[in-house]
Every structure is written in structure tokens, then in C-alpha cells.
């Protein structure tokens, strides 16, 4: 079995951005892999660009980091010049500029989400190639393949903040269950007019899915708890 520890760091990933009635909720898993090895099991893939705009990163860890670093730098200057917070649309277009003009070299899919006073909560998907698509919700990363059907069924307009966050956590958790390149914890970031809230859902606190079992400390606990016929089926 070839672990290929020299493979570039890739965030296989599941990333999600969802608009709700008043803002956006961004969500992601926390697994960064180098070939078959999990280089970081608690990565933070939801990166800040400005006070009110964040980006979910997927694909090559290095590419997504350098793109978001450049855009953070450009937005900082833009904010100084503009005299007020940058809009989500401008942030998305700066990401697009880099993604499109360097499409031959970059391998990163991004979801830009935030809140500004002109348009409220907005989500922009920027897949490989540098297309920009404004969407009510966006999914990305290798784990997203398992979520198209889920969102087709579960998504509704005008959710509350709580409904939106629960949907995101459930979705990332479902993707982690099936995608080997996604795992770890579920991180969410909620952005609205009031500000930004970060949340953390450790792997063992998530709902159990098909053929998943309740985690135990040890077999011994099961044997001791069971009763007179512990090995009976």
C-alpha cells in the first residue's frame, strides 16, 4: 500500500455555503491529506478575507492558501481606499481574477460567503476554471458529490439561522461518512449584520448514520454492562 507521503497536501474536503433569512452559514470538514496520510485532522478551511467576508477552501491546500492570502491583501487595500467594508461581490470577483488568470496552474475550488449592507447575505461559488456563480447555496470539494441529492431534497428558501446551520452540519457530517478525503470536525461560520460567529462540532458529537455505531471506550465496557449472557447474539 503506497502512502505516498510526498504527495502535495490536498484538502479533499467538503465545503458548503448556505444563505438564510438574514445572512450566510459557511461549513467545512477539517481533514487535510498527503496521499493516504491525514496530515492535519483539525484544519480550519474557512478563512477570513475581511471582517464580513469569509472563504471556504478546497483542493490544493497551498493553492487555496496563497489565493486567499493575495485576496486578503488586495481587499485590505481596497477597504482603506473605499472607506467602508468591502462587498461580498468584490471579494468574489478578486478571487475570480486570480482563479481565472492562473487557471493552468491552480487547482482549488472556493466558496465565498459574507454579508454586506447593500445585498445582505450572499454566496458565490468559484469552481476550477474561474467561473463565478452566485447561488442561494453552494457545495464543493470531493465530499460534495455525495450531497447533490441531499440538497436537492432538503434545501428550502428563507430558512432561519438555526435551520441553516443544522442543515450545514448535517450535510458535512453525511459527506464525511462517505468521502475518505473528508473527516475530523465540522466547523461553521455564521455571518450576518450583527457580526461573525464560529462554531465547532467534534466528530464524536455528530449524529450517527447508516452502519455507524455508538463510540465506546472499550469492549470491556460492553461486556461488563451486558449481563449474564454477554456473548449471545
Amino acid at each position: 500500500m503506497d502512502l505516498n507521503l510526498d504527495a502535495p497536501h490536498s484538502m479533499g474536503t467538503t465545503i458548503i455555503g448556505v444563505t438564510y433569512n438574514g445572512g450566510v452559514v459557511l461549513g467545512a470538514d477539517s481533514r487535510t491529506s498527503t496521499g493516504m496520510y491525514v496530515a492535519n485532522r483539525a484544519s480550519d478551511k474557512i478563512t477570513q478575507l475581511t471582517d464580513n467576508v469569509y472563504v471556504c477552501r478546497s483542493g490544493s491546500a497551498a493553492d487555496s492558501q496563497v489565493v486567499s492570502d493575495y485576496v486578503r491583501y488586495f481587499l485590505h487595500q481596497h477597504t482603506i481606499q473605499l472607506g467602508q467594508p468591502a462587498t461580498v461581490k468584490v471579494s468574489a470577483n478578486l478571487i475570480r481574477m486570480l482563479a481565472y488568470n492562473n487557471k493552468n496552474m491552480l487547482q482549488t475550488g472556493l466558496i465565498v460567503g459574507g454579508w454586506d449592507k447593500y445585498e445582505g447575505g450572499k454566496i458565490y461559488g468559484i469552481p476550477l476554471g474561474g467561473t463565478v456563480v452566485e447561488q442561494p447555496f453552494a457545495i464543493g470539494g470531493s465530499g460534495s458529490s455525495y450531497l447533490y441529492g441531499f440538497f436537492d431534497q432538503a434545501w428550502k428558501e428563507n430558512m432561519t439561522k438555526e435551520e441553516a446551520e443544522q442543515l450545514v452540519v448535517k450535510a458535512v457530517s453525511l459527506a464525511i461518512a462517505r468521502d475518505g478525503a473528508s473527516g475530523g470536525v465540522v466547523r461553521t461560520v455564521i455571518i450576518n449584520s450583527e457580526g461573525v460567529t464560529r462554531n465547532f462540532y467534534p466528530g464524536d458529537k455528530l449524529q450517527l448514520w447508516h452502519e455507524e455505531l455508538e463510540p465506546q471506550n472499550s469492549l470491556l465496557d460492553i461486556l461488563n454492562a451486558a449481563g449474564p449472557e454477554p456473548m449471545a447474539i
Binding site: M97, K103, N104, P127, G129, T131, Q135
Partner: protein, 245 residues
């Protein structure tokens, strides 16, 4: 505005990776565009899909856009390249307006500009991965043309891109007439789009039809077509030959 991350990887002739300044393959793609001239101008139909390989990833992409006052541009192929072309055309139209001389770019001029852009990119081995359809009306004259990603450019009474070349053009060759009314034109396009829906894997059932006349551009709301599955032969096709398809 362009920002290319500064990288020096040497001589493109000797060094394989240095040849990174060429587009090799598309990522998010749109499928066919079908367009016809009719009595009052031009009609153009497209679906709203953006495919990512075999996944039907985006279902709300507008692939037909108004350009200036007199033209409609439809694109199939890589969507990011189409978005970039729209930016080029924004600049072209802006500069045209800045002359403030009462004149405005007609469809023939826009088609010519696009042909130059596409052909020059092809010569640099860095094509814009699109097939474009340009239709419009100026001074009572209807215009319809097409440019491919390698710069092949021509005008015709009816055009189609992608799968439409194989499935729609035969229908159009048979049934197109110069004096088509709006209703007949729409029905003809819908006939083509329905066939594409049955037979093109990357087609989705959500389309828009755009109209351009001397008065201006209208793009319809997105809508879906009914499909027919009730042929007797479809009910039990393998009854006589179990295991066949």
C-alpha cells in the same frame, strides 16, 4: 483587470512545465445553442445548465446575453471563458458609447471583433474554449453568425453548436423558412431543444428563448418542456429478447 501570479519557470521550448500559458481543457461547460433568423429578427435558445464533467452541477446559468442595443451572444463551452468574453464586450460597448456620436455597434461588428479575438487566441495555442453564436438586428437587417474556439467564423440563416450541430441542424435544414412568425419560430426551436433533451446527456430541462428585433432584446423566463414517453415500444422493449436493451 488581470493579475497573474508571478512565476519564472524558464524556457517554454525546453521546459515542459513552463508551457503553463495554454488552456488544455474546459471545466464548467454549457451545451448546445440553437438560433434562427425569423420574420422580425433572430431567436436564440439555450438551456441553463453548467456541467462539470459528467455532473450536472449548475442549473441556473444564463448562456445568452444581450450585447449593446443590437446583439445577442450565446455561448457553449467553458463558462469562465464566456464570462471573460462578456467583460471584453463590456469594454468594447463602453468605448463605443464614449464616442457619443449617435452610432452604436451592430451585430456584424461584434461578430467580427469576436472572430479576431478567438482566432488570435487560437494562434497562441491558448484558446477561449467556446463556440459563440452572435445574432442581432440593425437598421432592419437581421444578422446571425457563429465563431468557434479555433476561429472558424461564418453567417447563416440558422446555426447550432455542440450536439445541436448533429441533432438540430438537420431539423432546421428541413423546416426553416425565411418568413417564420414568432410562434412558428419558437415551436421550431422547441422541437430542436426537445430532441437535444432526449439525446444529449449534458442537456437539462430548463431553458430560455431570447428574441432580438429592431425594438430590442427580450430573454424569456426559464421554463421546462414536456417530454413524451408513451410509445408502445417503450413499455416492454425486452419482452421478446430478455437481457437485451
Amino acid at each position: 483587470m488581470t493579475f497573474t501570479i508571478p512565476i519564472d519557470n524558464g524556457d517554454a521550448l525546453k521546459n515542459a512545465e513552463a508551457d503553463s500559458q495554454r488552456t488544455l481543457y474546459p471545466y464548467v461547460t454549457g451545451t448546445s445553442i440553437v438560433a434562427i433568423k425569423y420574420k422580425d429578427g433572430v431567436l436564440m435558445a439555450s438551456d441553463m445548465g453548467g456541467s462539470y464533467g459528467s455532473t450536472l452541477r449548475y442549473k441556473n446559468i444564463e448562456r445568452v446575453k444581450a450585447i449593446g442595443k443590437h446583439s445577442l451572444l450565446g455561448a457553449s463551452g467553458e463558462i469562465s471563458d464566456f464570462q471573460e468574453i462578456l467583460r471584453y464586450l463590456d469594454e468594447l460597448v463602453l468605448n463605443d458609447n464614449m464616442w457619443d456620436d449617435g452610432n452604436s455597434l451592430g451585430p456584424k461588428e461584434v461578430h467580427n471583433y469576436l472572430t479576431r479575438v478567438m482566432y488570435n487566441r487560437r494562434n497562441k495555442f491558448n484558446p477561449l474554449w467556446n463556440t459563440l453564436v452572435l445574432g442581432g438586428v440593425k437598421n432592419g437587417e437581421s444578422y446571425l453568425g457563429m465563431v468557434s474556439m479555433i476561429g472558424v467564423s461564418f453567417e447563416d440563416n440558422h446555426v447550432a453548436t455542440g450536439f445541436g450541430n448533429h441533432l438540430a441542424r438537420p431539423i432546421l435544414r428541413d423546416e426553416w423558412r425565411a418568413d417564420l412568425s414568432f410562434e412558428d419560430g419558437v415551436k421550431l426551436l422547441e422541437k430542436c431543444m426537445r430532441v437535444l433533451l432526449y439525446r444529449d446527456r449534458s442537456a437539462i430541462n430548463k431553458l430560455q428563448i431570447a428574441k432580438i428585433t429592431e425594438e430590442g432584446v427580450t430573454v424569456s423566463q426559464p421554463y421546462s418542456l414536456k417530454t413524451f414517453w408513451e410509445f408502445q415500444a417503450f413499455h416492454n422493449p425486452t419482452a421478446g429478447a430478455q437481457g437485451s436493451w
